[in-house]
């Protein structure tokens, strides 16, 4: 039987792990790094780059380098997050035929699952090289707030990458699994996940191998990149003051500054001061210009304090949603490289009134949790029982454009809930069921997951027929809905396949395109 891997498909970086002899191992890539940038690029000569290579040319080839596509996956083109990405990202995001966002680079419009698949395929390859055998099955993690469409699109990405996705697991749940591995503790824990491009916080309860997410909150546009951007801005200002040269329009200089800012930020977690040296950063008629600027931890902290404070506001909301007080949390787990920063650690410690747990690697803990879950799904031993929650309320659109909630936000899944609805017109023979996800009382302000029509309702006065609408959410967070006329027994049901996800034919086509590209690549090389 082939091995099952756990993949943390991150907004900024991805990580893959596997259980070996009962112990989790994080698998390094060919460069020896245990995380791989979630980036995909096409060079001017048509070469496709993934991971570190794509990152190294991200600024000089910015129009054709895709990063943070996870922010777009499973969303509609008109969604605010997509519109904000259009404003922020140098690559072109266009409306796809399914009303989904697609990314145009190298003369081709890629779907978001296709981009996700490129990263997943790379992680699969890393695992296969390490294990020396093909890998076909995986557990993939997603943010806890991902809705049904985003989860389905992530599964699609796995399928395109040639993986059978055994389970979609929430990232904080995976972190909690890794933390609780071989422990039999009963604890309330907070998972504070500050990654490269996103911030999430979740409150979970663990007892006897059961992990329940009590609440989750986050910001999809807040992360380590905000820290880097502020450092780059500072370096640009300092250099302009010193040399009267503005480097803002110089892609090569900006690429170097971005890399240097990230390195300085990491170094300042262990040192009080660093020197940023970038020789030959510019030249003018007087000769070359070198950038040499001292950056200390205090300056860095003043640059980013606003961002750190924003994470605490979200943390407050999450704790409130969980019905607990910050002091009720017994253990805090830090996830994401940015949590290595002393200022972040101190802010978290002040907020919860205790220092974070030190026993897990923030870059790897989610992939480790996914690997543990993967193993438990395929082994014959008792598996870790997961009780995740639905991150958003689910319901249907009703008369007058209202939203009737059937399952409230933060309800534990798997779950099945039903409600009796009726008709609004005399002798109405059919009803259209519009399945929505969101928190607004106004139907139009929520996400449409899908719709179907229940026909054959017996003729009757309005308000008389009884239609039982039931929602089922499985362990992956995937939604099924059924509607039954109690008088006639007529029933219609769907596994929600929202507008924006790919059909089986489209997935197959993408797989074939990828195979063609790989054949062409091989022929070009040989």
């Amino acid at each position: 039987m082939s091995r099952v891997i756990g993949i943390d498909l991150g907004t900024t970086n991805s990580c893959v792990a596997v259980l070996e002899n009962g112990q989790p191992t994080v698998i390094p890539n060919a460069g020896g790094y245990k995380t791989t940038p979630s980036m995909f690029a096409i060079t001017p000569d048509g070469k496709r780059l993934v991971g570190h290579l794509a990152k190294r040319q991200a600024i000089t080839n910015s129009k054709h380098t895709i990063f943070a596509s996870k922010r777009l996956i499973g969303r509609r083109f008109d969604a605010p997050e997509v519109q904000r990405s259009i404003d922020l990202c140098p690559y072109d995001i266009v409306r796809g035929p399914n009303d989904d966002p697609r990314i145009e680079i190298g003369g081709k419009a890629f779907t978001c699952p296709e981009i996700g698949a490129t990263i997943l395929r790379e992680m699969k390859r890393v695992a296969e090289e390490y294990l020396g055998e093909p890998v076909q099955e995986a557990v993939i993690t997603v943010p806890a707030y991902f809705n049904d469409t985003q989860r389905q699109s992530t599964k699609d990405a796995g399928k395109i990458a040639g993986l059978d996705v055994l389970r979609i697991v929430n990232e904080p749940t995976a972190a909690a699994i890794a933390y609780g591995f071989n422990k039999q503790s009963e604890e309330r824990i907070a998972v504070f996940d500050l990654g490269g491009g996103t911030f999430d916080i979740s409150i979970l309860e663990m007892s006897d191998g059961v992990i329940e997410v009590l609440a989750t909150a986050g910001d999809t546009f807040l992360g380590g990149e905000d820290f880097d951007r502020r450092i780059v801005q500072y370096l640009l200002d300092q250099f302009q003051q010193q040399e009267s040269i503005d480097l803002r329009g110089d892609a090569m200089a900006l690429q170097r500054l971005k890399d240097a800012a990230e390195k300085a930020k990491c170094d300042l977690s262990g040192r009080e001061q660093v020197e940023v040296n970038l020789p030959f950063i510019a030249s003018d008629p007087d000769g070359p210009r070198h950038l040499s600027i001292q950056l200390d931890r205090q300056t860095l902290e003043s640059l980013v304090s606003e961002v750190v404070n924003a994470t605490l506001k979200t943390a407050e909301q999450c704790v409130r949603d969980s019905g607990l007080e910050a002091g009720d949390v017994e253990q805090v787990i830090l996830v994401g490289g940015q949590t290595r920063m002393p200022l972040v650690q101190q802010a978290v410690a002040d907020f919860f009134g205790k220092r974070a747990h030190k026993g897990v690697n923030p870059d790897e803990v989610v992939a480790v949790g996914a690997a543990i879950q993967a193993e438990s799904l395929t082994s014959e031993e008792d598996s870790v029982l997961l009780l995740d929650v639905t991150p958003l309320s689910l319901g249907i659109a009703t008369f007058g454009g209202h939203f009737a909630q059937l399952i409230e936000r933060n309800t534990t899944v798997p779950v099945r809930k039903g409600h009796i609805f009726t008709t609004t017109r005399e002798n109405q023979s059919a009803v259209k069921i519009r399945v929505l996800q969101g928190e607004s009382d106004v139907a139009a302000e929520n996400d449409l997951l899908g719709e179907f029509v229940l026909t054959g309702i017996r003729p009757a006065n309005k308000g008389e027929p009884e239609i039982d609408v039931s929602f089922d959410i499985d362990a992956n967070g995937i939604v099924s809905v059924s509607a039954r006329d109690l008088a006639t027994g007529k029933e219609q049901s769907i596994t929600v396949n929202a507008t924006g996800t790919l059909s089986d034919e489209e997935i197959q086509q993408i797989i074939e395109d990828q195979e063609l590209y790989e054949v062409a690549l091989k022929e070009g090389v040989e």
């Binding site: 040319q57 110089d250 892609a251 090569m252 690429q255 030959f280």
Partner: protein, 129 residues
């Protein structure tokens, strides 16, 4: 002779230099002649020389070759390098093949290879054996 006209004896001289194996010098001469002029003749010479030099660069520095810095600190700073060369130096890690370096740099492939060859010639960069 009008201001935009290119002195033909200079072009002949550039050709002589190519015969003598001085294609780099010839290109610099033709590039200086091209400044401020749109002459098709000069453009043609320039294109020809760039193609010839590209072949030379590829021979001297094959796609699979790997490069590393030879000089650091004040020794490196004593050179008068353009920013493009500085950028290429910053990318050298001794592991990335030349073809990837060129692609990753985002620079015109000819300019990237020209810079790399000059850096080797100046003793700033060396091939990893």
């Amino acid at each position: 002779m009008s201001a935009a006209e290119v002195p033909s004896h200079l072009l002949m001289e550039a050709l002589d230099w190519v015969q003598q194996g001085r294609a780099e010098d010839a290109l610099e001469l033709v590039e200086s002649l091209a400044e401020g002029r749109n002459g098709a003749q000069v453009a043609g010479y320039e294109e020809l020389l760039r193609a010839r030099l590209m072949e030379e660069y590829r021979e001297r520095l094959p796609d699979a070759a790997r490069l590393r810095r030879k000089l650091e600190g004040s020794e490196l700073l004593s050179f008068n390098l353009p920013a493009g060369a500085g950028f290429l130096i910053s990318m050298l890690d001794g592991e990335t093949p030349v073809s990837d370096l060129v692609a990753l740099s985002g620079m015109d492939p000819f300019d990237a290879r020209r810079n790399l060859n000059r850096l080797i010639g100046a003793g700033i960069v060396e091939l990893v054996s």
